[in-house]
Every structure is written in structure tokens, then in C-alpha cells.
């Protein structure tokens, strides 16, 4: 419901549309830029979460925003996950466009009722009377020795809830463009970052940069097999594709980018070209989103396949602590190379 009192201004149109010039930026800097630009554009956008003010967020995504926007729009909270997410739901229902920062996706269990039973379903339950324009930013993944309670990949939880959108950017440019689109979306968007991507660099367009939700991206073209993946595994898949190319195998890497809505058309088009598909993700294999994609391909393009769809995913274990153990449970570039050769061979 829009606010009854006309104290807000409608967002200004973006300055000049999509920009062509780019700079090298870290992933967390690109996210920070998206937040800053959207907060400048629309005063209804606020950020709410733990350690986001002076500290700048656990991964420095909100660094500097307190000085720019002040403590009511960079609203730092006590450690109260369900209180924070619920307040964001209420704020979104009544006219703000809140962005929640949950420090780790592993903490979403503390807030799950507000995510699943409230944010995701309010619009439907109320027969379309409500909009819940909120973004829940959080990060997951292993690789920093944070062990089982701070390293999971939980996208399948959210993908299974009607009413949520689900975004997992792999590159700094996509991080900026997808976060911008998520903030402007009128639905609750789960925006999953990866803790080992924050200090990766890439070219990021200056100024307004929007990557529409629901569009996969071909990160590398190839003809021999399709690797469908997302988040940090995109980087591993690109590394693997380079190795495979040296061995005469041309792998196409499809970065799903948004799991919900899923760009089935682009995935299927790639499969029709290569006739072999490997789905790769860091989350554990059992019940993982890779199964959804593999099943979708089998249902819609079975006759195009020269081999059964193959999944390469995390072991069905919690994430262990020790560095060598941690690496052993999630797919690395070498694992992708091996799986691809098996599929093509």
C-alpha cells in the first residue's frame, strides 16, 4: 500500500540510461555503488541490518553509506534476525523499499518465518492487495574456514518457496546490475552473494547499470558441452573451460544469474547447440537446484541430448573447517574438467 501522505518523491529517471564506460572494481565495491545510486535515486530505499553503519558491513558492502545517508536510512540494528526481516516486510508493505543485510545465509533460519510465511506469501494470500518490494541481501558459500554454521549454500531453500525471486551474481558487473534490478522489483528478492567473490575484480559499467532479473548470461561460448552454473562456481567453470580448450573441448558456460525466475530459454538454446549438459553448484547435491535444472532440460529437450544431464555438486555433508577438508567437499575447477571429459568422452 502506498503511503497516504505525500511526503515521498517518485524516483527520478536514471541519468542517461545504460553506461558504456567501465572501471575495474571489486565485487563488494560494485554492490556498494548500486546501493548508493539507488538510495540517491529513491528516498524510500533504506538499508537495515547488523554492523552496517560505522563498520560498513561484515564484508564492507555498506562502507561509507552512513556518512552519505545518515543513521535512519542506514539503519543499524541489534542482533535480531527475525525482528529485522519482519520490520522490513512491514516497511515494504507500507511504502518503503527496504534492503535487509543478513550477515550469513546460515542465519536465515532465524528469520525464516518472515521470509517464507510473510514476505513471500502476503501478496498472494491477500488476493493481490499488497506488494512487498524488499531485498534480502546475504552471502553464503565455503572457502574461508568458517565451518558449518557460516559456509552453507542454501539457495534451494528459497527456490522452493513460491513468491520469492532468487538472484546469485558471479561477477562485479552482474552484482551491480542485478542488485539495482532487485531494488527496483516490487517483490521480495533473495540476493545471495558469495563470501569469496567480494574481493574478485572485474569491469563494471559506470552510472546506472541494470541487469534484468530472469536473464542468464553466456559467460563463454562453446560447442561441445554446456556447463550451467552460478555464483562462485562460474569462476571455476571458466577456469575449467580454459583447461578443456587446451585439450580440444569447447565448453559453453551459462551463468544462470537468477535462479527464480529461471531463463529456461537461454539454457535450452545452449543445450540444443551442444547436446551435452553439466550442471555445477557448490550446494550439496541432494535436493539441490541443479536437480531442477537437469529435470527441466530432460523434460523439455530430451531429444536434443546425446547423454544424460550430469550434476556436479557439493558432497552431502556439512562444510568442514580445515582448509583441505573444506576444498574436498565442493567442486573445484579440476573436478569440473574431469566431469566434462567424462560427459564428452
Amino acid at each position: 500500500m502506498p503511503p497516504k501522505t505525500a511526503t515521498t518523491t517518485e524516483p527520478r529517471p536514471g541519468a542517461g540510461g545504460q553506461s558504456s564506460s567501465t572501471r575495474e572494481m571489486f565485487y563488494n565495491e560494485a554492490l556498494n555503488e548500486a546501493l548508493r545510486l539507488e538510495m540517491e535515486r529513491d528516498e524510500r530505499v533504506i538499508v537495515i541490518g547488523e554492523d552496517i553503519a560505522e563498520h560498513g558491513g561484515a564484508f564492507q558492502v555498506t562502507a561509507g553509506l552512513l556518512d552519505r545517508f545518515g543513521p535512519t536510512r542506514i539503519r543499524q540494528t541489534p542482533i535480531s534476525e527475525i525482528g529485522i526481516v519482519g520490520a522490513a516486510v512491514g516497511a515494504a508493505l507500507t511504502g518503503l523499499r527496504p534492503i535487509v543485510e543478513l550477515m550469513y545465509v546460515d542465519f536465515s533460519g532465524l528469520a525464516m518465518d518472515q521470509i517464507v510465511n510473510q514476505a513471500a506469501q502476503n501478496r498472494f494470500m491477500f488476493g493481490g492487495q499488497a506488494r512487498v518490494p524488499m531485498v534480502l541481501r546475504t552471502q553464503g558459500g565455503s572457502g574461508r574456514g568458517n565451518a558449518a554454521q557460516h559456509s552453507k549454500s542454501l539457495e534451494a531453500w528459497f527456490a522452493h518457496v513460491a513468491g520469492l525471486k532468487l538472484v546469485m551474481p558471479a561477477t562485479p558487473a552482474d552484482a551491480k546490475g542485478l542488485l539495482t534490478a532487485a531494488i527496483r522489483d516490487d517483490n521480495p528478492v533473495i540476493f545471495l552473494e558469495h563470501k569469496l567473490l567480494y574481493r574478485t575484480k572485474g569491469a563494471v559499467p559506470e552510472g546506472e547499470h541494470v541487469v534484468p532479473l530472469g536473464q542468464a548470461d553466456i559467460k563463454r561460448e562453446g560447442t561441445d558441452l554446456t556447463i550451467v552454473t552460478w555464483s562462485r562456481e562460474v569462476l571455476f567453470a571458466l577456469e575449467a573451460a580454459a583447461t578443456l580448450a587446451d585439450q580440444g573441448i569447447a565448453a559453453e558456460v551459462v551463468d544462470v544469474r537468477t535462479l527464480v525466475p529461471l531463463d529456461k530459454a537461454r539454457i535450452l538454446a545452449s543445450v540444443r547447440k551442444t547436446h551435452r549438459v553439466l550442471v555445477v553448484h557448490e550446494a550439496i547435491k541432494r535436493g539441490g537446484y541443479g536437480a531442477e535444472i537437469a529435470a527441466m532440460i530432460a523434460e523439455e529437450a530430451f531429444d536434443e541430448l546425446d547423454a544424460p544431464p550430469k550434476r556436479l555438486a557439493g558432497l552431502d555433508t556439512p562444510i568442514p573447517y580445515a582448509q583441505h577438508l573444506e576444498k574436498s567437499v565442493v567442486p573445484q575447477a579440476g573436478d569440473i574438467v574431469a566431469a566434462a571429459k567424462e560427459l564428452v568422452g
Binding site: 541489534p78 535480531s80 516486510v89 512491514g90 508493505l93 518472515q114 494470500m125 488476493g127 525471486k165
Partner: protein, 321 residues
């Protein structure tokens, strides 16, 4: 505590409407016209009526699974409510929500809620909107004694207190969280004492006396509108019916149920003091009763004429476009 004739009669009318709505809903459920489950608010009418009398259409409420009373007191259309219970396209939620999820955003009702304590942080967030945009709107969260033991209660009251949000937490202590009596759910006798732990005022009122609810709510609304922050208002009450329609009520004695229903009837009490204080006569009250009965009849008739909710557009309602 003085109350004028117009206010007294309006409070009585709202309470009478809620009771009649619940009586008719129960009847329709018994006739197998209502699907799923319903939770009657009978006995607790003074709380919704007394609080909502202070609210404007642009103030927000969050409600509970026992939400018909809040919805009516916030100004809902009875026909659209019945239509929702009957699964019609003309219902508030076009048959998607039912009794436990009726919302009326045009009147600031952010919805009944099937999760105990689920609405408490949502009302807190609505109050955050008012503060952030600098309006003088406020939010009220209605919830039961059961919800006061959920984590959302603790986290939300703390957030509202540190931010001085314009929100009122109305705890309807109807003596039972489903089947669990309050004596076995709280080590304190007075739930309102919890407010001091958050640094906000805690008020406890006799929830059968709409005058007292109205007065306490007025105080809390004044605090919220003037930027002085949240209030916890605990209203002692009694649920006339079971937790849900058909509840065998094995956790209560017949003596208790019959005795408390008589001792705890805000509508009968209101009739008595309205007449004793010469604010109106029996004839005036009977006229209100007749008017309410006609309104209920019209609402049900209208609802029953509505077409069944269509499944065709269900997928389109999941996401806003």
C-alpha cells in the same frame, strides 16, 4: 473516565457487529459453507473496538488468526469478509486467504496472520515507515498471550523501543494459548511487566470494559502520535468459544466455560452501563441490534451471490508485475 453518548453507542455498535459476525460465521461453518477453520473472537470485542476507535484509515494494524474482530473494528466491509470466508471472487482476498489471512489494505489492515506472533514485527516495520517518512501515522499490532512468548515479541519490542517507533503492542490475554492456560505459560502474573524490560510503558486493563480499553488506548495513541514511542497494552479477556470451531475444549471445565461467559461479556456489560449512566435507553440499543442484524443479513446475501473464486489467475497473483 467519562465517555459521551456518541462514542458509547459507536463502541457498542462495533462490538455488537463483531459478535453477530462471529455468530453467523459459526452458523455458516456448521452448514458446511465455510471451508478450513475459523477462530471466534466472541468475548474479546471490547479490545478491538476500544483500540480501533482511535485509529484513522491510514493507520495500520496487524491481526491474528482470531482476526475478524480487528478487521471489522478497522472498518472492513462485512460483505467482502463473508465472501472471503465463502471462497468467492468478491472476497477481500478472492478466496486465496480465507479467515486466517483477511487483509484490507485500503483501511490499513495488513492482514490476519496464521503464524502466532507473525504480525508483531510487521507492525513494527509499518511504524518504521511512518517515522522514516515523517508522517503522524501509527501501527497497532494485535496478538494473544501465546504470541507474547514468541521470539518476534522480544525482538520487535526492543527495536521499537530503541527507535521510539509509533507502534502499540496490544496483547489480548484471553487466558489460553490454544489449550495452554496462561498460568502454565508465564511465571509472572502480569504480562505488562515485561514492558519495563524494553524501556517502554506497560499498561494492563480489564479487557471486558470497553471504556477502560478505550481510555488506555487513547493514552498509547497519544504517545505514538507525538513521537514518544511504543506502548505495550495488555488487555485481560476471555475467549467464549474454543480455540477453533469444533474444539472439544478438554482443557476447560464446563463450569468454567459457562461461568466465565457470563462473567466476562463486554457487550452485556456495555448495555448495562450505557443504560445506567443514561447515555441511551434499551430501545436505542435494540435499534442498534436490529440494524446490525440487518447489515449481517445483507452482507451474507451479497456474499452468497458472488461467483466462486476463479482458479484461472492463481499463478498471476504470486508476483507483482
Amino acid at each position: 473516565m467519562t465517555i459521551d453518548r456518541a462514542t458509547a453507542l459507536e463502541l457498542y455498535r462495533v462490538m455488537r457487529t463483531i459478535r453477530s459476525f462471529e455468530e453467523r460465521s459459526t452458523q455458516l461453518f456448521g452448514e458446511n459453507k465455510i471451508w478450513g477453520t475459523i477462530h471466534s473472537y466472541a468475548g474479546e470485542e471490547a479490545i478491538a473496538a476500544g483500540v480501533c476507535a482511535h485509529l484513522r484509515d491510514d493507520d495500520w494494524i496487524t491481526s491474528t488468526h482470531r482476526g475478524h474482530g480487528h478487521c471489522i473494528a478497522k472498518g472492513a466491509d462485512l460483505g467482502k469478509m463473508f465472501a472471503e470466508l465463502l471462497g468467492r471472487e468478491t472476497g477481500y482476498c478472492r478466496g486465496r486467504g480465507g479467515s486466517m489471512h483477511i487483509a484490507d489494505t485500503s483501511k490499513g489492515n495488513l492482514g490476519a496472520n496464521g503464524i502466532v506472533g507473525g504480525g508483531i514485527p510487521i507492525a513494527t516495520g509499518a511504524a518504521l515507515t511512518a517515522q522514516q517518512l515523517g508522517t503522524d501515522q501509527l501501527a497497532v499490532s494485535f496478538f494473544g498471550d501465546g504470541a507474547a512468548n514468541q521470539g518476534t515479541f522480544h525482538e520487535s519490542l526492543n527495536l521499537a523501543a530503541i527507535w521510539k517507533l509509533p507502534v502499540i503492542y496490544v496483547c489480548e490475554n484471553n487466558q489460553y494459548a490454544e489449550s495452554l492456560p496462561v498460568k502454565r505459560a508465564f511465571a509472572v502474573e502480569d504480562i505488562a511487566v515485561r514492558a519495563s524490560g524494553y524501556g517502554m510503558p506497560g499498561l494492563r486493563v480489564d479487557g471486558r470494559d470497553v471504556r477502560k480499553v478505550h481510555e488506555a488506548a487513547g493514552e498509547a495513541v497519544g504517545r505514538a502520535r507525538s513521537g514518544k514511542g511504543p506502548t505495550l497494552l495488555v488487555a485481560d479477556s476471555y475467549r467464549h468459544e474454543g480455540h477453533y470451531y469444533g474444539d472439544p475444549r478438554k482443557y476447560q471445565s464446563k463450569d468454567e466455560i459457562e461461568g466465565w461467559r457470563k462473567r466476562f461479556d463486554p457487550i452485556a456489560d456495555a448495555r448495562a452501563w450505557i443504560v445506567a449512566d443514561r447515555l441511551a435507553g434499551e430501545a436505542d440499543l435494540e435499534a442498534i441490534d436490529r440494524g446490525v442484524a440487518q447489515e449481517i443479513d445483507r452482507a451474507v446475501a451479497w456474499a452468497e451471490q458472488g461467483p466462486p473464486a476463479s482458479p484461472i489467475k492463481l499463478p498471476e497473483d504470486v508476483y507483482a508485475t
